[in-house]
Amino acid sequence: MMNTKALPRISTIFILLAAVCLAISLFVPIWQIELNAPQYPEGLALQIWASKIAGDVDIINGLNHYIGMKTLHTKDFIEFTILPYIISAYVVLFLVVAWRRTKKLLNIACAAFILFGVVAMVDFWIWEYNYGHNLDPNAAIKVPGMAYQPPLIGFKQLLNFGAYSIPHIGGWLFVAAGILLLAAMVVARPASKPKLPKNIVAILTLIVVTALSSCGTKGPERVNLNKDACEYCRMTISDGRFAGEIITKKGRVHKFDDIACLLNFEKAQEQSSVKARYVSDFLKNDELIQAAPAWYVATSGIKSPMNGNVAAFASKEAAEAHAAQWKATVETWEQLAHKMNHPHDNPESHHH
């Protein structure tokens, strides 16, 4: 039996791998802020390395002056001088842990590394805050109440620029190093505590997924009237009573200006990848409800943007009330979808 304070071989390998990850991160970009605007369809990227800012810094600095943002220069950041040393120190620390192979040292290294991660992110946020808020009062374009702080992680619209902040290779290597360290700890737990690893794994998974997927939301994504375009007919969605939305299994969101467009879009797909379907409640402006349980009235009396002429209602009573008014019938989603996908089954238009 091995000394219980000593680390198993597999832990050592993990720790060594973590050290390798960190060492590589010195030579690749750690973080990236991608900027997209209509006139920059190819996008602009700002890359943060351990020792410098790179990417389209000059172009971004040129653009920032319109809104009075300070220009970015590597030399203005003390971080870029000390960060390579700190990372190198962690590499050395990990190597020491791998050499000494004690749990205590591993715990210390792990805690120190997490602390480093937190401090680094806080520092990053503070810089973003300062750059986004300390604007030149003489800026040409001043939008009241507007600040230009890029997101720490995820997406944010800043005037005409969409800013998308995400770890680059180095950042992911950091995450990998952290996970390797934790894994090293997990596999080094004595066998007498079998439950813990599962819990840790579950919690870790949860943390990672929640943290990283913070920008993904549940339920339908709001239709931005007069802004979003219909996925099928490419026209701007402007009538909040007739919009629709499909969320695919991959999480893609497709929006439509008319239920007819939604159905046509689905029909054109080679195989269905639809996870959820939403339609606008006719009685509310721009409020999406689940398509399947809703009630539908289809009649030419309704004028919808692409002539689908279908109104959706959350309650059967409301649907019936309106159906009576238009002298039409109430249908379920299935009936409606079948009818609209197979128009020639309609006896009135059958000429065979």
């Binding site: 006139q39 374009i141 998974t205 990672v208 990283l212």
Partner: protein, 653 residues
């Protein structure tokens, strides 16, 4: 190991999440039936003529709409070797200015002549931004007929905009400068005291189109950007957008962007006309060129004018008013009824709409700010304002109208066109442009009766739209169908650089008035050769005049001898053809000049100073016939003092 697998899976999952929540690019929002809407079959005509400024090319381009086909580039301010414009002796005077021959300018805006507030298809007026000039293009010949220089001006940007019957075409100076003359040598930092704006009112003869600088308004030293005349009830008024009301003279991008509001300047031009008639103007000695192309002699002449009448607006209390407008207004557009004036503050987050009636009421009630601006009353913002379009987009520039109560504004920064209702000021639709739209244009969208079926956006940036062509990419135009509730992008085509403003009219207004040939009997050119019998070579000292004719497929004469080194040779080429679409070209080896392109019945002159002895081929450059390649000849050049006599001939004659 399973632990690691789960972690890896979690990581993968989160990466996927990341990439999926990033918004997609603007993509290509072209309408499904676009091809059918823009297809003009071979042999069919387009529905509209579209006259588009050529920006820094100095020329005016003509497109067919809806096909987007380039029909012609009309040379205006820039020499054009393709057509011999600015190279032939007849056209050189057109590019003359008080600074001498200026063979280039920056053509920004287009204004068609109007009758009763609607384009009448007679002439197109365009501005030269750099060396301030106005030009008139005759739509019978699609040629530049007249160019007038503007004194006391610099950066002729707020130009050319016309009144409802083209009584006047105005030209406002973008750069205020010290007025021309002996006192114009002043320190630049004395801007506020010494720099002035000048608005030129150029009157247009209703029958001939002849331009005359009737008078100028001397204004405070601000930058004039764009302008529009009133319509209907606001007929007597003109509105000009002004920026740099800070009166900065350096680092304007910062120093001219400080004030929250600049101005729209409202001018009662009828009053100005009365004051000038009553002799209230001051005569100022200036020098400016006035160039006209005489169709009879087919020759331009350049005349230097020496005087202009100036009204100082601060001296006439009821002539000019400033209306505050947020922030650095660019476009200043009047709706078809003449009631609403839209100011597009390019740095503003909203779009103000002013009311003509409220402006009149404010003037009557003297709802002015307590302090005048440089001696000019400033109407209270709220007193002139009809309302504001809230959050319309970023960087509004220009607005046109569809005649159905809707306005369409271009947004440079957010690269979109936004449709909004003039009455309730609500945004109705917005469509992306690709990318950074400047001007937009609705056929007749500036007139009382917009045609209203199409909208064209003129874009500055076209990255990723067309096959790349090195560092410089083409600019573009994008055609939208605006006949429905939604704007629908139906065509995207490159343009010559750089399109600013444009106007369009139904083809019927122009196409049947086209001159097909010049009547050779009406040709009064002094060096015309009336038929091959008159073709000859005449020596006058060291000047040699060649009276040369062209007809399919020979030059007469085609063998010329007796030219000597040190001679100046003038080839006066008369195209004897009297058939449509049969121009001939003419060129000679080694000429420091361009070719000539001579229309049927026309005489055009190329100057050639031979630099060496030898034999020099001459030939027709425009593929005219099956025997075009045979349409050539030789000119022999002998040493100075040679005893080779002048001889010329064709065949055995």
């Amino acid at each position: 190991m399973s632990v690691n697998k789960i972690l890896a899976a979690a990581l993968c999952l989160s990466v996927t999440w990341f990439t999926s929540c990033k918004p997609k690019g603007s993509g290509n929002a072209v309408g499904a039936d676009a091809a059918a809407k823009t297809y003009v079959a071979p042999g069919k005509y387009d529905e509209l003529y579209n006259f588009v400024s050529g920006g820094f090319s100095g020329q005016l381009s003509v497109y067919g709409i809806p096909s987007g086909r380039l029909l012609r580039v009309i040379p205006v301010f820039s020499a054009d070797p393709e057509k011999g414009w600015g190279y032939s002796e007849e056209t050189k005077p057109m590019l003359n200015t008080s600074h001498g021959y200026v063979p280039w300018d920056d053509l920004h805006h287009v204004e068609m002549s109007m009758t009763d507030g609607v384009a009448d298809g007679k002439w197109v007026f365009v501005n030269g931004n750099n060396t301030p000039r106005l030009a008139r293009i005759d739509l019978k010949t699609f040629r530049t007929a007249e160019i007038i220089e503007l004194p006391n001006s610099a950066g002729n940007h707020s130009s050319p905009f016309g009144t409802e019957n083209s009584e006047y075409i105005v030209a406002g100076t973008r750069f205020s400068v010290p007025p021309d003359g002996d006192k114009s040598d002043v320190p630049i930092k004395t801007y506020k005291e010494n720099f002035k704006g000048h608005i030129s009112f150029v009157s247009i003869d209703k029958n001939t189109g002849a331009m005359d600088l009737a008078f100028q308004l001397k204004t405070p030293g601000v930058n004039f950007d764009l302008a529009r005349a009133g319509k209907g009830k606001s007929h007597d008024w003109f509105f000009f957008s002004c920026y740099n009301t800070e009166q900065a003279n350096t680092l304007l991008e910062v120093n001219a962007s400080k004030r929250d509001k600049d101005f729209i300047m409202a001018v009662n031009w009828k009053k100005a006309e009365e004051y000038v008639k009553a002799g209230k103007g001051v005569k100022q000695a200036v020098t400016y060129a006035h160039n006209t192309f005489d169709e009879a002699t087919q020759t331009a002449k350049s005349e230097m004018k020496k005087e202009v009448t100036v009204l100082d607006v601060a001296a006439f209390p009821d002539l000019v008013y400033f209306i505050p407008c947020p922030k650095s207004p660019h476009g200043c557009d009047v709706d078809p009824t003449g009631e609403y004036i839209v100011g597009s503050g390019k740095l503003a987050a909203l779009l103000p709409v002013f009311s003509y009636d409220k402006i009149q009421a404010a003037i009557a009630a003297k709802s002015f700010e307590p302090e005048k601006y440089a001696g000019v009353p400033v109407i209270k913002y709220e007193a002139a304002l009809y309302g504001e379009v809230q959050k319309p987009g970023l960087g509004p520039l220009h607005t046109e109208f569809d005649g159905k109560g809707n306005a369409y504004t271009s947004f440079f920064v957010s690269s979109e066109v936004v449709k909004w209702n003039i009455k309730d000021l609500k945004v109705l639709d917005r469509q992306p442009t690709y990318y950074s739209v400047g001007h937009l244009m609705i056929p007749g969208g500036n007139t009382k009766k917009p045609y209203g079926k199409y909208l064209i956006a003129y874009n500055k940036i076209t990255k990723d739209r067309y096959l790349p062509t090195g560092p410089e990419l083409s600019q573009s135009a994008q055609l939208y169908d605006i006949s429905g509730d939604k704007m629908q992008l139906i065509l995207d085509y490159p343009t010559i650089g750089e399109p600013h403003y444009a106007q369009a009219v139904p083809a019927e207004l122009i196409k049947d008035k086209q001159l097909k040939i010049f009547d050779i009997n009406a040709n009064k050119h002094p060096y015309k050769a009336n038929g091959e019998a008159e073709a000859k070579v005449v020596r006058q000292g060291t000047t040699v005049h060649v009276y040369l004719t062209t007809i399919r497929s020979h030059l007469t004469p085609d063998n010329i001898e007796g030219v000597q080194l040190g001679d100046e040779v003038y080839f006066h080429v008369t195209n004897l053809e009297q058939d449509w679409d049969v121009p001939h070209g003419f060129a000679i080896k080694g000429a420091n000049n361009s070719e000539l392109l001579i229309m049927p019945g026309e005489t055009t002159t190329l100057k050639w100073v031979p630099d060496r002895i030898g034999v020099f081929p001459i030939y027709c450059t425009d593929f005219c016939s099956a025997l075009h390649q045979e349409m050539s000849g030789y000119v022999r050049v002998s040493p100075k003092g040679s005893n080779v006599p002048i001889t010329f001939g064709l065949g055995d004659k």
